[in-house]
């Protein structure tokens, strides 16, 4: 086939030029709504949600997880562009992690010694470690699906931000149910759940996002 002929065929095809942003939102928004509905139906929202939204420690949980989620999704859009690896800034992610660690340190020094262990162990560790990854399945898949239509030149890193974005958003959803308000609990356990999802997503991305 002559290149001229190929160009003629390519130019005739005017389908499917929607921008990446709409491809991402088209999957991610429904995915998050399903996760939200599933949490509400199966576990329910916490009864004192309105009061919890006035407690700084509890609010920080939404802010931290939500920030990771939005930064991850935003980075996925950048990395979906072939030249995006040069434009992607990862330091805001580190800033969120640093803020979480600082909050953990603050809670550690301000909590009485005899209460420390109980606070860290909590009562809902297992629920947390199971639910956050389950809630993450659809949002992470949605970001991954958008990235597959993109043209990333760094598949593993793109998988990483997809995992971080999807699980961060899902952790924020889970926080609507969870009543463990101390950073001593949520920084390590939410963190572990997010880390687990992100690792899997990185491995999957490295394979799935080549084109």
């Amino acid at each position: 086939m002559k290149t001229e002929d190929l160009i003629r065929a390519l130019a005739a095809d005017t389908q499917d030029t929607r921008p990446m942003m709409s491809r991402l939102l088209m999957g991610l928004v429904p995915a998050m709504l399903v996760s939200l509905a599933a949490l509400w139906v199966v576990l329910g929202f916490r009864a004192d949600l309105a009061e919890a939204l006035r407690m700084p420690d509890s609010v920080a949980r939404f802010v931290l997880t939500g920030a990771l989620g939005l930064l991850g999704a935003r980075l996925a859009l950048v990395l979906a562009r072939p030249e995006g690896r040069d434009a992607a800034r990862l330091w805001p992610l580190l800033a969120v992690v640093a803020a979480a660690v600082a909050l953990l340190g603050w809670a550690y020094v301000t909590t009485p010694a005899e209460g420390l262990q109980m606070a860290v162990v909590g009562k809902t560790r297992t629920t947390c470690l199971v639910t956050i990854p389950l809630l993450s399945v659809l949002p992470v898949s949605a970001i991954m699906w958008a990235l597959r239509q993109g043209a990333t030149t760094v598949p593993a890193l793109a998988g990483f931000v997809a995992g971080l974005g999807g699980s961060g958003l899902s952790a924020a959803i889970y926080a609507l149910h969870c009543t463990e308000d101390t950073p001593l609990f949520y920084v390590p356990w939410y963190g572990l759940a997010i880390l687990g999802v992100t690792l899997v997503s990185t491995v999957v991305g490295a394979r799935l996002l080549r084109w």
Binding site: T3, E4, L10, A12, D13, T14, E83
Partner: protein
């Protein structure tokens, strides 16, 4: 140089808005540059093989054209796709190459003019498509038939031909991917 690059942005913007003619001009404008880079890197791979790589790159650019962010410069985007695909294509042919972005800037565009060679791979891949898809790509590409003519010949609506062409091009890229692995 500035002026030319400016045109590329306008052409691709129009192309992504559905302007076939602007898109044809865009593909014609970038082809010599891409061909120049590929030949410079080929190290005696032969003209026909270079043209195979060239066509793979064009197909990739086509299927990923929505990843260009309107308003941003076209060149970094174009070079990044090309670099990724050329390295991939040479690796599939058993050669490892380095292709720093500077090479794009330094390389001279290949002589303009008619297609130098007939490339073989794409025709082979088209042959592997399901019969009707292959027919659509051949009619529109090689015979220059319109959607209406193609639809009439194959007893399909124009819209169905449009959808089928798009699917066929995606399948071509997927077939190629499977063959490499």
């Amino acid at each position: 140089m500035e002026r030319q690059s400016d045109d590329w942005e306008q052409l691709l913007t129009a192309a992504n808005a559905g302007d076939s003619r602007a898109y044809t001009r865009f593909l014609h404008a970038v082809s010599p540059v891409l061909r120049g880079v590929i030949r410079a890197k080929s190290g005696g791979l032969g003209e026909a093989s270079c043209e195979d790589v060239m066509q793979e790159v064009l197909l990739a650019i086509h299927l990923k054209r929505h990843t260009w962010k309107a308003g941003s410069p076209v060149r970094p985007w174009l070079y990044a796709i090309t670099r990724y695909k050329v390295i991939d294509a040479f690796r599939a042919r058993g050669r490892r190459i380095d292709l720093p972005i500077e090479d794009f800037v330094d390389s001279l565009a290949a002589e303009p003019g008619p297609d130098p060679t007939e490339a073989a791979d794409m025709a082979k891949m088209i042959g592997m498509l399901e019969g009707r898809s292959a027919e659509i790509v051949r009619k529109i590409g090689m015979e220059g038939a319109s959607f209406a003519e193609t639809g009439k010949a194959l007893d399909m609506t124009e819209g169905a031909v449009r959808v089928a062409l798009h699917r066929a091009l995606k399948n071509l890229a997927a077939l190629r991917e499977r063959h490499v692995k």
